[in-house]
């Protein structure tokens, strides 16, 4: 393989994800897939892929990736992050760097180093790769199920030294695109439908569930533990003969504090499930940070279906949010060696066509929002 992404630093939890695998829960394998499937689709559309193509999912803190390909078009969609691109000269010494904002595509070249910092706004960011990663599907999906140790890249999160093969050897000559009219913000009001085991709680405790403000205490791809002002009490014990777990199932274990099950969840569980997050709110749930506050709101099944169809039509229209980055004349903010030196030199280094501009943000350079060039 001559074209790959060389993972210098993996970030906190960076994994290959697509829209997940269906049909294997009966064998004990959860669906996995992107925590924020809306952002995954957007990342793919930015580089001209099918919306469900595999991409890199980054949680909280991004990786550092060295480009080992003639060129590759990447995109960034979801959380905001500081994205620094260090470009090398022939001798291999770093001779320039640029910060770009996400929600766009960009072409990088052999030897370039892409450093993605801490995420803000959302807990997950997707790096789309034009043409896709050359990772074989497992059970119909390239999603990594970290808990089950299967799928994706050797069934695990990426580690330093991993070399992810690319399907393309070089970027196509398509235009660069950015996202317009879409945000990837978490929701503080998560809508649920009742059940399946709401009858393990009396009315007072169900009311408490909806009154409580919850904070995310720990969170990973398996589940999100919440901590509320008051714990819930079960009226018929907290052990049930295990049954299956749906997307967004909210378990109440013995301590009375909810666990919302995410995409790498176990397929079955033995705690009563008081309610289930509606499918339209699952992407916004996936964006919540540890420490984030939220409340649950009950909706009827009919309302959940209406909201679900609205989400599906929004996903259909997502392509309309992908617009070309038009003017290469828009000043580029970049930095040569010294991070305080702002100039347009990046075009001189790499040529304007490979470094379409307009989306680079001064705010990442000097700590203030700026459009100086």
């Amino acid at each position: 393989v001559t074209s790959f992404l060389n993972i210098l630093q993996p970030g906190l939890v960076t994994s290959v994800q697509d829209l997940g695998r269906a049909g294997y829960q009966r064998l004990g394998i959860g669906p996995s897939g992107a925590l924020d499937p809306v952002a995954l689709r957007a990342a793919n559309l930015l580089v001209g892929n099918e919306p469900g193509e595999g991409a890199l999912e980054i949680i909280y803190l991004g990786p550092t990736i060295k480009i080992e390909a003639e060129s590759v078009r990447l995109s960034f969609a979801g959380a905001s992050a500081t994205i620094e691109i260090l470009s090398n000269n022939a001798a291999g010494a770093a001779n320039g760097s640029a910060w770009i904002a996400g929600q766009r595509s960009v072409v990088v070249r052999r030897g370039d180093i892409v450093k993605i910092g801490s995420l803000t706004g959302s807990a997950c960011l997707y790096v789309g790769v034009e043409g896709g990663l050359a990772v074989d599907p497992t059970m119909g999906s390239v999603s990594t199920n970290i808990r089950a140790g299967t799928g994706g890249w050797h069934g695990r999160a990426l580690a330093a030294g991993d070399q992810l093969p690319l399907r393309r050897v070089r970027a196509s000559d398509r235009d660069e695109y950015r996202l317009e009219g879409i945000t990837f913000l978490p929701s503080t009001q998560i809508r649920v439908t009742s059940g399946p085991q709401h009858d393990y709680f009396d009315e007072a405790n169900i009311a408490r569930f909806f009154q409580n403000e919850y904070a995310v205490s720990t969170s990973d791809r398996v589940g999100m533990r919440l901590m509320g002002e008051t714990a819930l009490h079960h009226c018929r014990g907290f052990n049930i003969a295990s049954d299956a777990i749906a997307p967004g199932s909210i378990q109440i274990p013995g301590n009375g504090q909810p666990i919302v099950l995410m995409t790498d969840r176990q397929t079955t569980g033995g705690y009563p499930k008081i309610a289930t997050v509606i499918s339209a709110d699952l992407p916004a749930l996936g964006r919540l940070f540890i420490g984030a506050k939220l409340r649950f709101e009950q909706v009827s099944m009919d309302t959940a279906q209406v909201l679900r169809r609205r989400m599906l039509s929004f996903l259909e229209d997502l392509k309309n949010c992908v617009v070309p980055i038009s003017s290469p004349i828009t000043p580029t903010i970049s930095v040569l060696s010294d991070r305080n030196l702002i100039s347009g030199v990046i075009d001189a280094i790499r040529g304007a066509e490979s470094w379409p501009s307009g989306e680079t943000m001064g705010s990442y350079v000097n700590g203030e929002t700026s459009d100086i060039g």
Binding site: L27, T150, A241, A244, P247, Q266, R308
Partner: protein, 241 residues
């Protein structure tokens, strides 16, 4: 008439619950319904468990009312019939070296370790469901005199093949995992195949056959080399739903 409840599990799944206990008759009804639902175009996937069948469906293809009707129609068709069931004979090494909790289980139950092994391996187990990890089969029932609770604090690493018990359930770990079960043995047989198949399926029967450490090593080596393979030893015919 089969008695069940339909419980909502979000806007794209429904639980068909036949009971709230671990019971072979209930489980057999679930597996029979699961079998009947195969081929229903509106279903994405089904997940049978001890007491219920989760049905993941396409809300665009069917209404809630129609789901209730279809399931009622199928449930009414479930007949008590004779069905084949696969019988497996799985080697298990109960040697102390592979059974970190064997002596503790013996102490708790007032039996000798030899008696624990004899009783655990004297039962034909029934596979109720797969869950939690790929290929992890929940088998019952452990003889009542061996019923012990889960460990106070789960062990962080139970090796692949470890056999653990808690209350009425006996499980063999398909891979290394954290586990709160009492580990009393280890099987050299893989519960999960590299080509993504589970060895066992719900409704199967399993006999545990005690082997020595030496035999364990030989079987594991030969399985690894592909010289032998594990197949069901028989198909039991019996009355099931």
């Amino acid at each position: 008439m089969v008695d069940y409840r339909l419980l909502p599990a979000g806007d794209a799944a429904v639980v068909v619950e036949f009971g709230d206990t671990i019971d072979r008759h209930i489980n057999a009804l679930i597996l029979a319904l699961d079998n009947r639902l195969e081929g229903e175009h509106w279903i994405f996937e089904t997940v049978p468990t001890f007491r219920s069948l989760m049905v993941h469906y396409d809300p665009d293809a069917i209404s809630q009312a129609a789901i209730a009707e279809r399931i009622a129609w199928h449930a009414a068709q479930i007949q008590i019939v004779e069905r084949p069931s696969r019988l497996w004979r799985l080697p298990v090494c109960y040697d102390a070296e592979m059974a970190p909790d064997l002596s503790e289980v013996a102490a708790r139950t007032g039996l000798t370790t030899r008696q624990v092994i004899e009783r655990h391996s004297s039962v034909v187990y029934y596979v109720y469901m797969l869950g939690f990890l790929p290929g992890l089969a929940y088998m019952g029932e452990v003889p009542p005199e061996l019923a012990v609770p889960r460990l106070q604090s789960p062990r962080l690493k139970a090796a692949a093949g470890s056999l653990g018990i808690a209350m009425t359930m006996s499980l063999i770990m398909p891979r290394e995992t954290a586990s709160g079960l009492n580990l009393i043995g280890c099987s050299p047989v893989s519960m999960w195949h590299d080509d993504n198949r589970a060895l066992l399926q719900p409704g199967d029967k399993v006999i545990h056959e005690p082997v020595s450490l030496e035999e364990f090593d030989i079987v594991r080596t030969r399985l690894g080399r592909g010289e032998i393979r594990v197949d069901p030893v028989a198909e039991l015919r019996e009355i099931r739903a």
